[in-house]
């Protein structure tokens, strides 16, 4: 009876190690292919368009409202200490250090990451990936590398956009609505943000680009090997769900780890 449980733990552990190894190898071969010529310019542009350009609107909306709500909440908290003038500091540091990279990555996961997992999952299920292998085309290079490259370029740019729009949102609610002097707000924003904060934010967004793209592509790529034994449409849906959930969780975990090292 008890051996049964021990076996279950053992098999779980073996499976975990095996999939972690598979994941890491997948990631490494994708990264390695970035440096193998020729550069797949056309595909990279396609994916920048998909991951980056098409996410701009979502990022604008989420960034604006995140900034506005930070302005409101920050104001009502700070006003109890009589230091509502520090709103600019609160909004800009929160956005640049944390919310810009994290919420940006989560929004991009929802918009582009899910699509990546589903697209690659369908390619796997309809044997398109096998077809690549028979044509002597490296499928990892074909489906993963351009997405990875495009994401690493797009994530920091979208994060910068999120930060800027968020700071503007804070200005809208803090200055226009609640009447903090706008010069004070902007002065606090400009003077409280340090170079290390900005680099930290960009560093985070680049790490998140790797994390999100790798998890989403990996889930799609191995959508035929899931434990529940789901194939076809079910397999793709499972892959997409897993990709989004795991990406978001990993983004938050990585955020904590990076922050604890940066501070």
């Amino acid at each position: 009876m008890i051996t049964c449980y021990i076996e279950a733990i053992g098999s779980f552990f073996v499976r975990f190690v095996a999939s972690a190894g598979q994941f890491f190898l997948f990631f490494m071969s994708g990264v390695k292919q970035i440096f193998s010529l020729p550069v797949q310019t056309d595909k990279i542009l396609d994916h920048i368009w998909f991951i980056g350009a098409k996410s701009v609107f979502v990022i604008l909306l989420t960034g604006l409202f995140t900034g506005m709500v930070l302005g409101l909440q920050g104001y009502y908290t700070l006003v109890t200490f009589g230091s509502e003038a520090a709103l600019g500091t609160a909004v800009s540091l929160t956005l640049i250090r944390e919310l810009g990279p994290v919420l940006g990555a989560i929004m991009i996961t929802a918009r582009a990451g899910s699509a990546m997992a589903a697209e690659i999952g369908v390619m796997r299920m309809s044997e398109q990936i096998d077809a690549l292998v028979t044509m002597q085309i490296d499928p990892v290079r074909f489906v993963f590398t351009p997405r990875l490259f495009a994401a690493v370029l797009s994530f920091p740019l979208l994060t910068a956009l999120f930060d800027m729009v968020g700071i503007f949102g804070g200005y809208l609610s803090g200055s226009l609505l609640l009447g903090i002097n706008e010069a004070v707000y902007m002065d606090r924003v400009i003077h409280s943000v340090k170079m290390t904060d900005i680099w930290g934010g960009f560093f985070k967004s680049i790490v998140f680009a790797f994390v999100v793209t790798t998890i989403c592509c990996y889930r799609g790529y191995y959508s035929h090997e899931n434990r529940q034994g789901e194939f076809g449409a079910k397999g793709v849906s499972l892959a997409t769900t897993n990709a989004v959930v795991q990406s978001c969780v990993c983004v938050l975990i990585c955020d904590y780890v990076i922050t604890s090292f940066l501070v």
């Binding site: 309809s126 044997e127 398109q128 096998d130």
Partner: protein, 250 residues
């Protein structure tokens, strides 16, 4: 006797608890059309996938011109795989690429061919197969027969020496089926490639086949020419042929 081009030697393959191939021995001669028949789900596609390396055997050897495929130098196995095309049962066309890009892909990704030459080559193939003028359509906009021909064009565009057909006629009407058969026959004559066809079209396929293998219960039950199989006394062979021909469109 000359060494066969591709030879399966006691190949075994198991998926989980399911034993699919239980020791397959099969020789495929160069420049010939070999047809593999057998009940659905007996592992015919699995057999084909071994040749292109999509599936690796649990035991046994796959010989290419007498040398084991696993033991070949990287260069040699690359050369063999470059000269091999695989036509999937469900075509496996890239649904996010246009017809032209689909056909051009194998050349574009694996060689440094100039755009003009590539275009000429792709259009030549499309014309030969009667699918010219649909460059910018997507596979999902085409009929089943057209898709098959696009897949065939993609398989032929690299000028392969070996083409593996996994049920090239499923989902086609009898006339189209015959067309595909004539087409394969004509191109095989014209280009002299080695063809391995997995098929259910008994007995029409016998016309085309120079060599027939019957796969049953994980082993090769019969190997020989089209005439031989009709007069074979091996138990099960006649039953299979008769049974299949009465429910051909299964």
């Amino acid at each position: 006797m000359t060494t066969p081009f591709i030879q399966f030697k006691n190949i075994k393959k198991q998926f989980g608890a399911l034993e699919v191939l239980k020791g397959v021995n099969l020789s495929i001669a160069k420049g010939q059309v070999t047809v593999v028949i057998g009940k659905s789900g007996t592992g015919k596609s699995v057999l084909l996938k071994h040749i292109v390396g999509l599936i690796h055997q649990d035991s046994g050897q796959l010989l290419i011109q007498g040398e084991p495929l696993d033991g070949l130098s990287k260069e040699k196995s690359c050369r063999f795989k470059n000269k091999t095309s695989y036509m999937f049962q469900d075509n496996a066309l890239f649904d996010f690429l246009t017809v032209y890009d689909n056909i051009a892909l194998p050349l574009k990704e694996t060689s440094k061919i100039a755009d003009a030459a590539l275009q000429q080559k792709v259009h030549a193939r499309m014309k030969q197969l009667g699918i010219d003028g649909i460059d910018n359509k997507y596979p999902s906009e085409l009929s089943g027969g057209m898709r098959k021909r696009v897949a065939l064009a993609r398989a032929l565009v690299t000028d392969p020496e070996v083409i593996l057909f996994d049920e090239p006629t499923t989902g086609l009407d009898p006339i189209r089926k015959k067309n595909v058969h004539t087409m394969i026959k004509a191109y095989q004559k014209q280009f002299g490639f080695t063809a391995v066809i997995v098929s259910h079209d008994i007995p029409q396929i016998f016309d085309l086949a120079q060599h027939i293998a019957l796969l049953d219960e994980g082993i090769i039950l019969f190997e020989g020419s089209g005439q031989d199989i009709l007069h074979s006394k091996i138990p099960g062979v006649q039953a299979f042929i008769q049974g299949k021909s009465s429910m051909e469109h299964e």
